[in-house]
Amino acid sequence: MATIEISHVSKIFKDSKRKADIIALDDINIEVAKNQFLCLLGPSGCGKSTLLNMIAGFEKPSAGTVMVDGQPITAPGSDRGVVFQQANLMPWLPIWENVGFHLLLRGGQKAVRRATAQRYIDMVGLTGFENHYPSELSGGMNQRVGIARALLMNPQVILMDEPFGALDEQTRMEMQNELVRIWQEHQGTIVFVTHGIDEALTLGTHVAVMSARPGRIREIIPLDLPRPRDITSPQFNEIKRHILDLLRSERAKSSLETVDHP
């Protein structure tokens, strides 16, 4: 049984100003197997974040079902860890309390929370910053805190919404390597939203290429490139060319497709 099953999912937003419906997602079908690292790749506005938010339980599909471990998703829950585009840390809590926020809500004892948080702080390489506040750390460091917070819940699934989008190139590459290391060491199923082809090809075991308006899955490409991935290798470029072709043909035909209200 697949860990995540998305079947016939559509999402329609009502645009009251234009009196038209926008089809954000149109009949999406994806299965994500256990320990798979799926990258959702597509242009902005293709509904990839919307799809991720549905798995997270923040949004509901207009049609179709999203199941995780055979259970239909109705609300957010700690079985699915989310790493957001912005770190979304509590500015009033020190780093270790942010990492252990899950335990704080569950009413864990301070010493236990502290010790558990420490393991994950070490894992993401923030040892020594336990008592700092988010405002005292850089964007990249805060994103690490966000990752540690999600990992601490030991979730079935980790959902990442362009988590490295706001980081500079160098920091992003460093974070990508580290994410792959953590994923390899601890296993787990990851769905990672990105608009960067290189990022998708560096990280994923699979890439789902999406098209925009209406958001559809163009192709799901399995990647069996060796790790660490060499972004200058011929195989890498071959796949990249293929994806660029997919996106390009998409752009040629794409216009704002809307459906008029009856």
């Binding site: 923040f58 957010p76 912005q86 979304n88 509590m90 926020f101 704080l104 809500l105 506040y133």
Partner: protein
């Protein structure tokens, strides 16, 4: 070093100039001395009011502490009730749309009524004593605290609430661990405005409906043409207002210590 020493002194320049000018003007005889007592006269009266030095304030000699305590206890009582009710009502209104629909229109209609216009009813209901004053203080402090609490709760970053839901928080936990801490800066802003109104209304109530406190001394001295004592009472009220605001700011700095690095201001000195 010279500069930093100058910085320490420069804040006193304007007050000293004003006091010196006032003293000179009062002594020049342009106005009868009784109409605008010189600062030295005010200090003299104030000293007697506080310590009973030479009895020049007659029945008030040495009574300052009692008068101050009377006013202060009214401020404290009214302000505490206002804080408790306004913060809980504000959180409820900001958090739940249903509560907002039920309570908010009524509060918005009551809000524009100036608290002082309640004085007649307050006297009829509570008589001439502490209660009408506390009631007025409550009215004055309640609305600023309420509005700021609502504002703080409503402006809580939705993404933080999402993050809380993601780690498995239920509604009560989201309220307790995210919304409330996120609203604290706004709540404190409301408390600071509220304490200002509280002093204003205590003094007003004491001038009209109560027979003790700094406001009463102020009004009573006016009847007895003791403008030096009027000014001493004004200064006392200003001082206490400043000190109570300072107390709130001190608590705020402790509770909101995480904000220190996120604000532009870095303490000035």
């Amino acid at each position: 070093m010279n500069i930093s020493r100058f910085r320490r002194l420069d804040r006193y320049i304007v007050p000293v100039l004003i006091l010196a000018g006032w003293e000179a003007f009062s002594r020049s005889g342009a106005l009868p001395a009784a109409l605008l007592p010189a600062p030295s006269t005010v200090v003299w009266a104030w000293a007697d009011w506080i310590f009973g030095t030479d009895g020049n304030t007659q029945t008030y000699s040495g009574h300052w502490l009692l008068d101050m305590a009377a006013s202060f206890s009214r401020v404290l009582a009214g302000f505490a009730i206002a804080t408790a009710l306004a913060v809980s009502a504000g959180v409820a209104i900001g958090w739940s749309r249903a509560t907002e629909v039920i309570i908010e229109p009524t509060l918005q209609i009551l809000r524009p009524i100036p608290p002082v216009s309640w004085i007649p009813l307050a006297i009829i209901w509570f008589g001439i004593a502490n209660k009408p004053a506390i009631f007025l203080v409550f009215l004055g402090a309640f609305f600023p605290i309420l509005l700021n609490t609502i504002h703080g709760v409503k402006n809580c970053d939705r993404n933080l609430i999402r993050a809380g839901a993601m780690v498995g928080g239920g509604n009560r936990q989201l309220l307790r661990f995210i919304v409330l801490p996120a609203a604290l800066p706004s709540i404190f802003a409301g408390l600071r405005i509220g304490i200002g109104s509280a002093w204003m209304l205590t003094v007003t109530a004491e001038m009209v409906a109560v027979k003790s406190g700094l406001g009463y001394v102020l009004w009573d001295s006016y009847y007895f043409l003791r403008y030096d004592l009027v000014l001493a009472a004004m200064a006392s009220i200003g001082l206490l207002g400043f000190l109570s605001d300072l107390a709130i700011r001190t608590v705020m700095a402790r509770v909101l210590h995480w904000q220190r690095n996120t604000t532009i201001q870095r303490g000035g000195e």
